[in-house]
C-alpha cells in the first residue's frame, strides 16, 4: 500500500501523507465536537443539538443570545490561542531539536507578559481602565514576545553557532528575570492591576469578545500559512547542524525566521488569552506520536490538538468548580506538568 497520495497540478506537485490526512480529519472532527459540547455546557445547560442549532442562529432567542454573545467567542478564542501556542511550540521543538522546549520555558511568554503588564500600568487612568484603546494591547505583547525571542536567540549564539541547550538555559534565565520585573510592576502599579494581571498571566479566556476572536484568527491564519510553507525547512533542521548546510539550506537564517514566527504566534496568543502554560509543549508532542515528525502533517495536527486542549481546559475551569472560575492556564499546567514528567521519564535512556 502506498503511504502517500501524489497531488499534481500544473506548476506544482506535492505528496500528501495518507496517515497524516486521516489523523488530521479525525482531529478536526473531534475539535468540532468539542466546540459544540463546550457550547452546550455552562450555567445554562442545553443539549448538543440545541447548541449546534444556536451556533447558526437557529435556536430559541435566549439560547442564541447565550451562545452567540458569550460562549462562542470565548470558545473560539480558546481554540485559536491553543492552536497558536501549539504551532509555536512545534516550531521551537524543531529549532532546538529537543522535545522539551516550549514558548513558556524559553522565555517568550515571560517577555510578552512583562510588556503587557507595563502597558496596563503605563496607560492607566484612575484605576478604572486604560487611557488609549485596548486594541493596542496585542501589539505590546507581541513586541515583548519578539524582543525576548530575539534576545534569547542572539545571546544563545557563540562563535556564530546556535546551541539548542544554551538557547534553553538563557531562555530560563530570562524568564526568571522578566517574572520578577512583572511582579514588580504589579506591585507599584495601580491596585486593580494586580488582580487583573494575575488572572491574565495565568491564562484565561474569560470575557472574550468577537473583535478579539477576529484579530487572533487573522493573526494565527497568516503565520500558520507561512509556517506551513516553511515546514520543509523545519524537516531539514531536524537533521542537525551539519546536514542542513550540506543540503544547501542556510541553517542559521532559517532558525531566525522560524523563531520570529514562533514568537509572533505566542505573542498573539498571550495578548488575548494570557500565558496559558504547557500547551506549546504537550500538543506538538502528542501530534508527533500520532503522525510522526514530518512537519507537513505535524503542524496542522498539533494546532488542532492545541485547540482541543485549551477548549477542554477552559470548559472544565468554568463548569466544574462553580461558583469559582479556574483560569484555563491552571488546568493546562495541571495536565502539562505530569505530561512533562512522563516525557522526562520516557527519554531517560536517550
Amino acid at each position: 500500500m502506498k503511504h502517500n497520495i501524489a497531488f499534481r497540478v500544473k506548476g506544482m506537485s506535492f505528496l500528501i501523507n495518507k496517515k497524516g490526512l486521516y489523523v488530521f480529519s479525525a482531529a478536526l472532527i473531534i475539535l468540532i465536537a468539542v466546540i459544540i459540547a463546550s457550547t452546550a455546557l455552562g450555567d445554562m445547560n442545553m443539549s448538543m443539538i440545541e447548541a449546534a442549532k444556536s451556533i447558526f442562529g437557529g435556536g430559541t432567542s435566549l439560547h442564541n443570545l447565550v451562545v452567540r454573545s458569550f460562549r462562542l467567542p470565548r470558545i473560539l478564542l480558546a481554540a485559536f490561542a491553543g492552536m497558536a501556542l501549539a504551532v509555536s511550540g512545534a516550531i521551537l521543538q524543531g529549532i532546538v531539536r529537543n522535545p522539551l522546549a516550549s514558548p513558556d520555558i524559553i522565555g517568550i511568554t515571560g517577555g510578552a507578559s512583562f510588556t503587557t503588564v507595563c502597558f496596563l500600568a503605563l496607560f492607566n487612568i484612575n484605576d478604572k481602565g486604560v487611557s488609549i484603546s485596548i486594541a493596542w494591547l496585542p501589539l505590546a505583547s507581541f513586541a515583548g514576545a519578539i524582543l525576548s525571542g530575539l534576545l534569547v536567540y542572539f545571546l544563545a549564539h557563540k562563535k556564530s553557532i546556535l546551541s539548542p541547550f544554551r538557547l534553553v538555559l538563557i531562555g530560563i534565565g530570562l524568564s526568571a528575570g522578566t517574572e520578577a520585573l512583572t511582579k514588580f510592576v504589579m506591585l507599584i502599579g495601580p491596585v486593580y492591576l494586580a488582580s487583573k494581571a494575575n488572572t491574565w498571566m495565568t491564562g484565561s479566556v474569560n470575557g472574550a469578545s468577537w473583535p478579539q476572536v477576529t484579530a487572533l484568527a487573522i493573526w494565527f491564519t497568516v503565520f500558520f500559512i507561512i509556517t506551513f510553507i516553511l515546514a520543509r525547512r523545519l524537516n531539514i533542521l531536524e537533521l542537525g547542524e551539519a546536514v542542513p548546510v550540506s543540503l544547501g539550506s542556510s541553517s542559521n537564517k532559517d532558525k531566525k525566521i522560524l523563531l520570529i514566527i514562533s514568537a509572533a504566534l505566542t505573542g498573539g496568543a498571550v495578548a488575548f488569552a494570557g500565558g496559558i502554560g504547557f500547551v506549546g509543549l504537550m500538543a506538538p508532542h502528542m501530534a508527533r506520536k500520532l503522525v510522526g515528525s514530518a512537519y507537513g502533517a505535524l503542524i496542522p495536527v498539533s494546532a488542532l490538538i492545541g485547540g482541543i486542549l485549551v477548549i477542554i481546559s477552559d470548559t472544565i475551569g468554568r463548569t466544574v468548580f462553580l461558583p469559582l472560575e479556574v483560569p484555563a492556564g491552571v488546568l493546562t499546567s495541571a495536565i502539562g506538568a505530569p505530561y512533562f514528567v512522563y516525557l522526562l521519564y520516557k527519554s531517560r535512556n536517550h
Binding site: 522539551l100 513558556d104 520555558i105 545571546l155 557563540k158 546551541s163 541547550f165 544554551r166 534553553v168 538555559l169 538563557i170 530560563i172 534565565g173 530570562l174 524568564s175 526568571a176 528575570g177 517574572e179 520578577a180 520585573l181 511582579k183 514588580f184 504589579m186 506591585l187 507599584i188 491596585v191 494586580a194 488582580s195 494575575n198 488572572t199 498571566m201 495565568t202 491564562g203 484565561s204 502554560g277 504547557f278 469559582l324 472560575e325 479556574v326 483560569p327 492556564g329 491552571v330 499546567s333 495541571a334 502539562g336 506538568a337 512533562f340 514528567v341 522526562l344 521519564y345 527519554s347 531517560r348 535512556n349 536517550h350
Partner: protein
C-alpha cells in the same frame, strides 16, 4: 580549579576583610534611606531610648532589616554553593531547583485556604514546600542512565516552577484579598519584617551554617565522583542526605522570612569560586560572607531607585542576577 587567592594565610585574611566589609555595609544599611540617621542617634537608640521617630525607625525597622539581610543573604549563598556541589552543576541554585516556587505555593495555599499568618507557621510551610520542590526536581532531573545532567535538571526545575507558580496564581485569582496580602511577599522583600520573623528561623539557620562548615571536606571528596568517593570509604548516601537537609534548612528558612529572592544562590558561589577555587572548606564561608554583602548592597540600592518608595530587593537581585546567569550559561560548553 584554583582561585585568585592561593595561600592559606591570604584566604584567612580575605575572610576577615570581607567580615569588616559586612560591618561597614550593615552600618550603611542602618544609616541610609529616606530618613538618614547619624551614628549618635543609633547608639542612643539603644542606650538612651526616648521614643523619638528616628530611634523607633532604628529599633523596629533598620536594625532588623540589616540583620535579616545578613542572615538571608549568607544562607541563600551557602545553599547555592552546596547545590552546585551536590549536583555537580554550575547552574544549580534554589530558584532553579524549585525551592522558591515550592515554598511559595505551600505558603499561598495555607494563606488562602486556612488563613495561616504566624511566622512559625510560615517557617514550617516554607520548609515543607522547599523540601518537596527540591526533591521532586532532583529526582526528575536524575532520571535515566546518564544521571543528572545540567540540561535535564534545569528543564525539570523550569517545568516544576511553571507548574507551581501557575497553581499559586490560580489560588490567588480565586481570592483577591489574599493576593494583596501576599504579593509583596511573593516578590521577595526584607522590608517591614521584625525580629520575630528572624527569631522563628534563626535556630535552623545556625544549625545549617555550622553543619555546612563541617561538611566542606566531605563535599570535596564527593566532587571527585560518586565511585571515587565510595572507594575512599565515604558513605555517599549519608553525605548527600546531610547536604540536602542543610540546603532545605537554609533555603527554606530564607524563603520563609523574605520570600523568593532569586539569583543570590547562583551568582555568589561563582564569585567565591573565582576567589578561592573549588575547595569547599573555603568556598562555603566565602559564599556565606559574600552573600551577606550582596544582599545588603542590593537592599540599600533598592531604597534609592524610586524614592520615596522602594523596589523589593527580590527585583533588585533579579536585575543583577539575570545578566550573570546568562553570562554563565554562555560560558558553559554545551554541544
Amino acid at each position: 580549579m584554583q582561585g585568585v587567592i592561593k595561600k592559606r594565610f591570604a584566604k584567612g585574611t580575605g575572610l576577615i576583610i570581607i567580615a569588616l566589609f559586612i560591618i561597614v555595609c550593615m552600618i550603611g544599611s542602618i544609616a541610609l534611606g529616606v530618613t538618614s540617621i547619624s551614628i549618635d542617634t543609633f547608639i542612643h537608640a539603644y542606650t538612651h531610648f526616648n521614643g523619638s521617630n528616628n530611634q523607633v525607625i532604628i529599633r523596629d525597622e533598620r536594625v532588623p532589616r540589616a540583620l535579616i539581610a545578613v542572615c538571608v543573604g549568607s544562607s541563600l549563598a551557602i545553599a547555592g554553593a552546596l547545590m552546585q556541589g551536590l549536583t555537580r552543576n554550575p547552574l544549580a541554585s534554589p530558584e532553579i531547583l524549585g525551592v522558591n516556587s515550592g515554598a511559595s505555593l505551600m505558603i499561598v495555599t495555607a494563606v488562602t485556604l486556612f488563613g495561616a499568618s504566624s511566622p512559625s507557621a510560615f517557617t514550617w510551610l516554607a520548609f515543607t514546600g522547599a523540601a518537596a520542590g527540591s526533591i521532586i526536581v532532583y529526582l526528575l532531573g536524575s532520571l535515566g542512565r546518564e544521571g543528572l545532567t545540567p540540561i535535564k535538571l534545569t528543564l525539570a526545575g523550569a517545568a516544576m516552577a511553571a507548574l507551581f507558580s501557575s497553581l499559586t496564581q490560580g489560588l490567588l485569582t480565586s481570592n483577591e484579598q489574599s493576593l494583596d496580602a501576599v504579593i509583596f511577599w511573593l516578590v521577595g522583600s526584607i522590608q517591614g519584617k521584625d525580629l520575630h520573623n528572624l527569631s522563628a528561623v534563626l535556630p535552623y539557620f545556625i544549625i545549617g551554617w555550622l553543619l555546612s562548615l563541617l561538611i566542606g571536606s566531605k563535599i570535596n571528596t564527593l566532587m571527585l565522583g560518586e565511585n571515587v568517593a565510595k572507594s575512599l570509604g565515604q558513605n555517599t548516601f549519608i553525605v548527600k542526605l546531610a547536604t540536602g537537609i542543610i540546603i532545605v534548612l537554609l533555603a527554606g528558612g530564607s524563603v520563609a522570612i523574605a520570600g523568593p529572592i532569586s539569583f543570590i544562590g547562583i551568582v555568589v558561589p561563582h564569585a567565591a569560586r573565582w576567589m578561592v577555587g573549588n575547595d569547599y572548606r573555603w568556598l562555603i564561608p566565602y559564599s556565606g560572607m559574600l552573600g551577606a554583602v550582596l544582599l545588603l548592597l542590593a537592599d540599600i540600592l533598592a531604597r534609592y531607585v524610586i524614592m520615596p518608595s522602594e523596589v523589593p530587593v527580590g527585583v533588585a537581585t533579579a536585575v543583577i542576577g539575570t545578566p550573570s546567569f546568562i553570562y554563565l550559561a554562555r560560558k558553559g560548553d554545551f554541544k
